[in-house]
Amino acid sequence: MTRRVVITGAGTINPLGHSVDQTMQAMKDGQCGIGPLDIRDVDRLSIQIGGQVKNYDEQAHFNRQQIALYDRFTQFTLLAAREALSQSGLTFNGALADNAGVILGTSGGGLNTQDENYRVVYEEGKNRVHPFIVPKLMNSAAVSQVSMEWNLRGPSFTVATACASSNHAMGQAFNMVRSGMATVMVTGGSESMLCFGGIKAWEGLRVMSKDACRPFSATRNGMVQGEGAGIFVFEDYEHAKARGAQILCEVAGFAMSSDASDIVMPSKQGAARAIAGALRDAKLDRDEVGYINAHGTGTAANDKTECAAVADVFGAHADKLMISSTKSMHGHLIGGTGAVELLACIMALRDGVIAPTIGYEEPDPECALDVVPNVARDAVVDVALSNAFAFGGLNAVIALRKV
């Protein structure tokens, strides 16, 4: 059984906004959501910027008992899921509940909870922590809480493949609906590691920028971390059509690959195999692709390798398509990044607006593609790809098509 899969709901909270509309407006305006970090002990960090979710008050959304169980990454997930499921108009009872599940990506899971509680026992010397630390910090907590809030009783689990987690999760959800294993899947990802320990660990790698994320620019000097969530409702096309659902776009194909070469350095061949694989899976001709949301981290290594992979796969068409990195605006949401970036693909297909790569200062001959520098662009796009290439060489590429 092979079914068509469509997206019937989208939700997000991220440094650019607390909803899909706010986020897309910020992308259209080329706004930067990266700024000085407001976290405990920031003065002891050498990296003091990040894409934080702003004006966020957990008590405005959750009660005391919920906050005791919801790490920040779970809170972001639930808020984004509320928006996505509300848009879809779905409720889950009986057979549909049994045939609907949740697959989400995250890398750090409840890292804030771990950080806070290690502090309590090691720094403050206490011998007791809150009883719910384990169900709060586990990587699968967000999946479980979503399944409980919406009565999703089908296949549900968490995917952790570092920076490709969300794309791997969405690829899995796509294949479940396509194959008939599920009718509806709630999918996407979430991350919240902007805490002292989370940033301290990244500092050690020496790949972080102290001032801005400038993907593809010759002046780029590293990545900037962000936080937030993106959640989508993937649904069997016939099911969506029968109930008259609003369809945002079609999920056309997905592919993944492993570099099998290095724990931090990316490989052109591995990336190219995932991109070409997604086109093949979607039965698309490469000339049909109008936009690629790049992995585009702003590191020296990623951006030139990614551009070389795109040039290899697309040949002469590489110079005709647009490729941008919205990480320049929201930062790198690590395990949640592919989910928030999928919004830029939906915006391209549905609204005909291509999100820019902001902070672009100077061309780099090793990134000589149309990176939509600094200003959003109107364009008609029928097919868009979203790239994710993780540390450890785990690659996942999703292909979306206009419906």
């Binding site: 050498s46 050690g204 790698l205 020496r206 780029r220 724990i263 350095m265 020296a300 290594a301």
Partner: protein, 85 residues
């Protein structure tokens, strides 16, 4: 142990060489130290001398820390020790 001996010991450990095989004129490439070993070496130097080394792995050559040879690293560490004392 002198600054020079300490740095040579750190680099020798990363390169899996005897300290006597590390010369002042050697480049990191000569010693077989790749980008990951370099980041580990910088960390070990910071810990050994209690200094902060300005180093960005995105563009090691542009950092204000001359890593072209073993000798240049020793000189740069001496300068940072004086600066950050």
């Amino acid at each position: 142990m002198s600054t020079q001996d300490k740095i040579i010991a750190i680099l020798a450990e990363q390169a899996l060489l005897a300290p006597s095989d590390v010369g002042l004129d050697n480049s990191l490439e000569d010693l077989g130290i790749d980008s990951m070993s370099l980041v580990e070496s910088i960390f070990a130097i910071e810990e050994a001398f209690d200094i902060t080394v300005p180093f960005n792995a995105n563009d090691p050559k542009q950092s204000d820390f001359d890593i072209s040879t073993v000798g240049s690293i020793i000189a740069a560490v001496d300068a940072l020790k004086a600066e950050q004392a």
